[in-house]
Structure formats: C-alpha cells, structure tokens
C-alpha cells in the first residue's frame, strides 16, 4: 500500500517522508471493491450488505465501497439515532445514501436503550462524580489528556459536564464511576449491532463493519458492539488513508470536513479528546514509523517534532495496542488434549 517501504520488522527503513501514508486511492478502492465482492458473495454467501451510517467518515467510505462492490440496490444504510446523537448525523447520513443511490432505514434506538437502563445507569454513575448532574440541563463527555507528546502522562479518564450556558466542570473519575459509565454507554453500540443484524438477516445480507486501523488496533470499539460485523473492509487502513479514499469516492465535503466524534456522549466528545489524545496525521505517521522501525530521530526530523516527543508517541500508541488486545480476541476455549 505504501510505495517504496518495507514493513518487515527489523528491516532497514529507507524513505520515511511526510507522504509515506499517501495511497493511490483509485487502485486501493478497486482492490477493496473486488475484495468486498468476493467476501460477501463468495465467502459469506450473502446477497448484499448493511452498513450502519452515522454521517461520519468511516461509515461513509464503507457505504460507498459496498455500493460500488455489490450494486447500490444490494446495500442498505441503517441510521440508528438515539437521544444523545447529534441532529446533524441523520441529515448527513441521508444525503450520503441519496448520493450513492442506497436505500436507508431509520431505527431510533432510544426506546430500546431506555429498556436496557442505559441512560439511567449512566446518569447514576455521573452523579457519583457530580451530584448536581441532571441529563435535562447538562451534557456530558469523557476525555483523556491530549498533550501526550508534550509530557509523559498516563491515559486517565476525566468526566466533563456542561450546562446550558456552556459552563463546564471536569473531574477525574473514580474507577467505579468510570467503569459504570462506559459499561452503560456500551449498550448503544451493542444495540446498534443487534439492529444491524436484524436488518441484515431478514435480507440474507452481511453486516459490514466500519472501523479503521486506528480504532481496530488501538481498541477504540466495543467488543460485540461496533466490533461485531461479518467483514471489516477498512480495518487495515489508517484514518488519514480513509480520508484519501473518501475524497476519491466522492463522499460529501460536509462529511469529510466534520470533526470525528464518538457520537456517544451528549457533549460531543471528539475522538482525539476521548481516546487517541493526538491528531490523526501525527498519530498515524508516528505509528507507521514505529511499525517500520524508523529511528525516533529520523521520524522527529520528518514530522518536525523532538526525538523525545516521538518516543512518547511510540510508547502511548504501543500501550494502547497492548492494553486492548483482549478486545480483538475470540472467546477463549479450553484446549482438550
């Protein structure tokens, strides 16, 4: 995918440059289209694909690829808004589906989430940290430190609440509150997964996952939630490469220009502040350098960073990969002798 580079561990890395993650979007798109067609029709023996569309970049690219691979009449875009979703998401997702001639289905999952106790359980946990929290008058989000190149820091989680005047309060969470907020919020991704499988199974379609490499390998997904899919056509691509595919495939500009969010927390938590702690370009380039054994001082020169900043970036990325290994594991079984 990246020209002129070797990705074998231990190999000498010759030409790391600012353009190292540039791809030939036309060629990559054609390869992905062929692969999706083979996987869905050949391996999975399904007639088409459903894609959960949020108005975000990744799901837009997967929808466009599936439409090209299978024909738009064999693809369904499923919008699954809930109480905390951005109102823009539905409009953007509908415009996207219209552009690619794909049928859409809207499944509002708010009532289902109320049934699981998602909101109630989450709000109870938030009130452990901020007793005054009221979901009617406050929005909420979870953040991590975003200065990870400037200072060695742990990835710890803060809770922020925001009132109707835009005034915010932020506090580091006790572990019990953090775990409960995340566990409750994960109902959203898991209910979306079951909804997608309903829409897929009744048509004999496959579920196409929308996670990119940043999300898949650093563990920014919910196991058996958005991680639950039959195929994951962009899970090997860095976010900066998904942007290039989006432009080539004609994803609308308002989607390409939108800041990626979790679309899970009502205060609009960006992916950078919720999870990655770093902008996509620098994160992807640092990761690419790390994977290819580029010396830290060489990566620093190309990225206009200090060697120490590069080393901090390497450590942070590797730590997330290691810490989330269990998310990518299949269920463990006992091996009989």
């Amino acid at each position: 995918m990246t020209q002129g580079l070797t990705s074998q561990k231990g190999a000498i890395f010759l030409n790391f440059s600012k353009d190292s993650l540039k791809i030939d979007a036309a060629r990559v798109s054609e390869e992905l289209i062929t692969e999706i067609r083979n996987q869905v029709r050949g391996t999975l023996k399904k007639s088409g694909a459903v894609v959960g569309i949020s108005g975000g970049l990744d799901s837009s690219v997967v929808l466009a690829l599936c439409a090209r691979a299978l024909g738009p009449e064999r693809v369904v875009g499923v919008m699954m808004p809930e109480r905390d979703s951005s109102p823009d998401s539905r409009t953007l997702a509908q415009n996207l589906a219209d552009k690619f001639g794909v049928e859409t289905v809207v499944e509002d999952i708010t009532a289902g989430l109320e049934g699981t106790g998602c909101y109630r359980r989450r709000d109870e946990a938030i009130r452990q940290v901020f007793a005054e929290y009221d979901p009617i008058t406050y929005k909420n989000k979870i953040t991590i430190p975003t200065n990870i190149l400037e200072k060695e820091t742990f990835n710890f989680f803060n809770l922020t609440i925001e009132n109707s005047k835009g005034e915010t309060k932020t506090r580091r969470m006790p572990p019990s509150a953090y775990l409960k907020i995340v566990a409750a919020s994960n109902f959203k991704q898991r209910l979306r997964m079951t909804t997608l499988y309903y829409q897929a199974e009744k048509r004999n379609y496959a579920v196409a996952g929308t996670g990119n490499k940043d999300e898949h390998c650093q563990g920014f997904f919910v196991k058996y939630g958005d991680g639950g899919a039959d195929l994951k056509p962009i899970a090997h691509l860095f976010k900066v490469q998904v942007y290039q595919l989006a432009e080539y495939l004609g994803v609308p500009d308002e989607i390409i220009g939108r800041i990626p969010t979790t679309d899970t927390y009502s205060a609009g938590s960006t992916q950078e502040e919720f999870f990655f702690g770093l902008d996509f370009y620098r994160m992807d380039m640092l990761w690419h350098a790390m994977e290819n054994n580029v010396p830290a001082d060489e990566a620093a020169r190309v990225l206009n960073l200090t060697t120490q900043q590069v080393e901090r970036g390497f450590v942070n990325i590797q730590r997330k990969i290691d810490a989330t290994e269990y998310l990518r594991m299949a269920p463990l079984e006992i091996e009989h002798q």
């Binding site: 990835n155 710890f156 006790p174 953090y178 730590r319 290691d322």
Partner: protein, 85 residues
C-alpha cells in the same frame, strides 16, 4: 506518620492484590515501571490514584498524574512521602 518502607509495603500489597490477582509468584521490583511491564492500564491508573487518595488523605492533581510520580513503587513512595510531609 508512615515511613518510606511502610509506604512501599502497603503499595506492594495493594498492587499485588489488585493487579497481579494475588499471584505473589509474579515478581515486582521497587523500580519496575508499571507502564513498561503492562501491570497497570488506564483503568488501573484510576484505581491506583483512588487508592492513594483514600489511604493517604490527599488529592492528586491532574498534572501530578505523571510516570515520575506514579510509575513504580519507588516513584510512588517518594511522591507520597513528599505529599504527606
């Protein structure tokens, strides 16, 4: 008033029981980095900070959540000793 060795022993007990799931055969030296050995993840950092705040009755500020203060038994013991004077 706890001395440095008391603090280290208390920390070792907590870390062994919490993060090593009681497996005392898994060795942990006072200078071992929690991050590099993978003993503590992002949830573990919250658990560790919460334990220290409750046990030693002080608040850890966000800008004190650094490896220099929290990433080994030695670092933790020195940090706690400074904070509780």
């Amino acid at each position: 008033m706890s001395n440095n060795n008391d603090i280290k022993n208390r920390l070792k007990t907590f870390i062994t029981e919490t993060f090593l799931v009681g497996n005392e055969n898994e060795s942990l030296n006072d200078s071992d980095s929690f991050m590099q050995t993978g003993i503590i993840d992002s949830t573990g950092v919250l658990e560790l900070a919460s334990f220290i705040e409750q046990e030693y009755k002080f608040t850890i500020e966000d800008d004190e959540m650094t490896p220099g203060n929290l990433d080994s038994i030695n670092n933790l013991a020195n940090f706690i000793s400074r904070k509780i004077g």
